[in-house]
């Protein structure tokens, strides 16, 4: 038996990477420094419990992990919990101080920093935020370096990591906008946006129906299918290939949103004119991509079909369209983004008093920037889900393509 050598080989040393070490030291150092600053403010007679507690938690958590040099999922859990707890406490501090202790924000806002919170508290606040953020970053770092063969664990990880990352981006946004007192018109805090969002759900739903369900989806469906059909026709006719395709390439390079006012003239104020813009925007990418996809089959594959005495339609359905699928899905994905942009921007040029683009353009005029952000959030979520749906279907249908194989 070769147990000795085997055991040497079987114990892989998941030593902390350089970045992880640097993050760990930085998180620890900032927590320590924040703790000292806050203790000083206690000595000076000011007591800020929540932030002090947050810095203690971060300090202890980072100290516990400081001695271990190997990565373990427990490390990630400790750091994740510590940073979340710290974030909650900082948030609580922001919220409870908002009415009475606006000093956090006001000191920066009114006097340009220094006064109000004795300066030390503000520095302490930022240090705790920084330390909590570094700790959270380290948690994500640990999580992403976990290598597991289990599919379920991998699935959970691939969901948890971006979620944690996203949540922390939002938290930082919240802390910075509120802690530094950034004016609402420049950048509202996520909590303000969320509040506005929950208060205006009927409006948002109506806008979503008008813009996404009507203009985007209908325009997208018509534009993509028309582009596809014309591509197949072009492919059969050398005249169209030489005449229409160069024009198609030219038009697809134009900023097509510019035609929105014209479409309003032609199709009226309501959603059909927006759908028309989307049709024009999505038509040419689909056309150009499908034409490219239809010529993707190699000459050997064409010869093969010829030796079977295959007719045009058999060759089209059994060889050329499957071969063109990756190109077609490329166009579908590009178009999902283009359609949303087209429909929203088209509404800037005349619309009934509903729609995401309409809401954005009017609310920004009324300085209700939080409503603009709420609409942007709806558009982002809808656009991402649409794109994810298309990617999912693509993965199912073009599993055979080298870029999709595992």
């Amino acid at each position: 038996m070769h147990n000795a050598t085997a055991s040497v080989i079987e114990t892989p040393a998941y030593v902390l990477s350089r970045l992880q070490k640097m993050l760990l030291y930085a998180a620890f150092a900032t927590a320590l420094f924040a703790l000292l600053l806050l203790l000083m403010s206690v000595v000076q007679g000011y007591y800020d419990g929540a932030i002090l507690l947050a810095s203690v938690i971060l300090f202890v958590a980072n100290y516990l992990c400081l001695s271990t040099v190997t990565i373990h999922w427990r490390n990630a859990v400790v750091k994740g919990l510590a940073s979340t707890l710290a974030a909650l406490l900082i948030y609580y501090q922001l919220d409870s101080n908002l009415a009475e202790n606006l000093r956090l924000a006001d000191s920066v806002n009114n006097t340009g920093g220094g006064a109000g919170f004795n300066g030390t508290a503000i520095a302490g606040f930022w240090l705790v935020v920084l330390s909590a953020w570094l700790t959270a970053w380290l948690c994500v770092e640990h999580l992403s370096s976990i290598e597991t063969l289990s599919r379920i664990k991998n699935g959970v990880l691939s969901l948890v990591i971006p979620l944690l990352f996203g949540v922390w981006l939002l938290l930082l946004w919240e802390f910075i906008t509120r802690g530094a007192g950034v004016p609402q018109v420049l950048l509202p805090s996520p909590s303000a946006i969320a509040e506005r969002f929950s208060n205006s759900i009927p409006t948002l739903v109506a806008d979503f129906k008008q813009t996404f369900l009507k203009a985007v989806l209908i325009g997208y469906a018509i534009g993509c299918s028309a582009g596809f059909i014309v591509a197949v026709l072009i492919d059969r006719s050398p005249f169209l290939q030489r005449g229409l395709l160069p024009i198609g390439n030219l038009v697809s390079a134009l900023p097509i949103v510019g035609i929105a006012p014209i479409m309003v003239m032609w199709f009226g104020f309501d959603w059909p004119s927006k759908a028309a813009v989307v049709v024009v925007m999505t038509f040419f990418p689909m056309l150009v991509n499908t034409v490219a996809g239809l010529s993707a089959a190699s000459s050997m594959q064409h010869d093969l079909m010829k030796t079977y005495a295959s007719n045009y339609w058999q060759t089209l359905f059994k060889m050329r369209l499957p071969e063109a699928l990756p190109f077609i899905f490329n166009a579908l994905k590009i178009n999902s983004t283009l359609a949303l942009i087209g429909a929203i921007v088209a509404e800037f040029f005349g619309t009934p008093i509903v729609g995401m683009g309409f809401r954005i353009s009017t609310e920004v005029g009324r300085m209700n920037v939080d409503m603009v952000w709420a609409e942007i959030a709806v558009a982002a979520v809808a656009g991402s889900l649409f794109y994810a749906l298309l990617s999912g279907i693509e993965r199912m249908l073009t599993f055979w393509h080298p870029s999709m194989r595992n």
Partner: protein, 270 residues
């Protein structure tokens, strides 16, 4: 049926004074010049020659993938185009050319789907031909999950599934390593001995040509023409050991001499 008529007369392919010239921007390229050849039912004919001698082009003319510019050619007593429309031959290309979105079984079934053959018969032929090339059990695999040799075997099964009397093979084992190639050569030979199919086989390997063929057509380049036709009287059932026998070596030497004579200059004249 023309197929039956020609099998009675025994002539599968008749080529008379055939020439093919490609017009290119650099002027005409004489790919084939004055080819005369007749191939009978049950022949295994190898076309051998250096690259550019037109051996693949000749095979493509038989398959109606290229059209001759002069002369006549008949396949099964009709024009190559008619023969192609009747699905008179199976063609194996240099690469397997399997469709990655179809399983191996579905790839083999492809020509049968195009021919409109019913699903039960399709299933039977797919099964039978996959077993013939030793790919039983790989029906549900995708081509990219198989090795190059297995892919090429699948493409041979696909050509055989059409159940043609004539098999046209264009350097089918050219991209494979020596051991796989020997193995597939043996399998092809036993298949030919069993079924009495006519095979036209393009290669640039002398041992391969001599081992497989009942007749070896030596071609020379610029312009592509037939230099020599060598009859082989090796027994129809041969093992790989036959390559050590004096008869085999004599044939190989004759082919080598023919190739050298057709290639009498050291540098190509431009």
């Amino acid at each position: 049926m023309t197929t039956e008529e020609s099998s009675q007369t025994g002539k599968v392919i008749e080529i008379d004074d055939l020439s093919l010239t490609f017009e290119t921007s650099d002027g005409p390229v004489y790919a084939l010049s004055d080819i005369n050849l007749s191939i009978e039912q049950g022949d295994f004919v190898s076309l051998i020659g250096p690259s550019g001698c037109g051996k693949t082009t000749l095979l493509r003319v038989i398959a109606d993938l290229e059209a001759a510019t002069k002369g006549t050619i008949s396949v099964n007593g009709v024009t190559p185009e008619q023969a192609r429309m009747q699905r008179a031959y199976g063609y194996v290309f240099q690469a397997a050319a399997l469709y990655p979105w179809r399983t191996i079984a579905k790839n083999v079934a492809l020509p049968l789907e195009i021919m409109g053959i019913g699903s039960a018969e399709r299933k039977r032929r797919v099964q039978q031909n996959l077993e013939l090339v030793n790919l039983g059990g790989f029906e549900k695999k995708y081509p990219w999950q198989l090795s190059g040799g297995m892919q090429q075997r699948a493409s041979i099964a696909r050509a055989l599934a059409v159940e043609p009397d004539l098999l046209l093979m264009d350097e089918p084992f050219g991209a494979l390593d020596e051991i796989v190639r020997d193995h597939l050569n043996e399998q092809l030979l036993s298949l030919w001995a069993k079924t009495n199919k006519t095979v036209v086989f393009v290669t640039h390997s002398i041992p391969e040509a001599v081992y497989l063929s009942s007749r070896i057509v030596v071609m020379s380049p610029r312009p592509g023409k037939i230099h020599d036709v060598i009859e082989s009287h090796l027994p129809k059932q041969r093992s790989l050991d036959i390559r050590e026998t004096p008869e085999f070596l004599a044939l190989a030497n004759r082919v080598r001499d023919g190739l050298r004579a057709g290639h009498s200059y050291d540098e190509p004249e431009l």
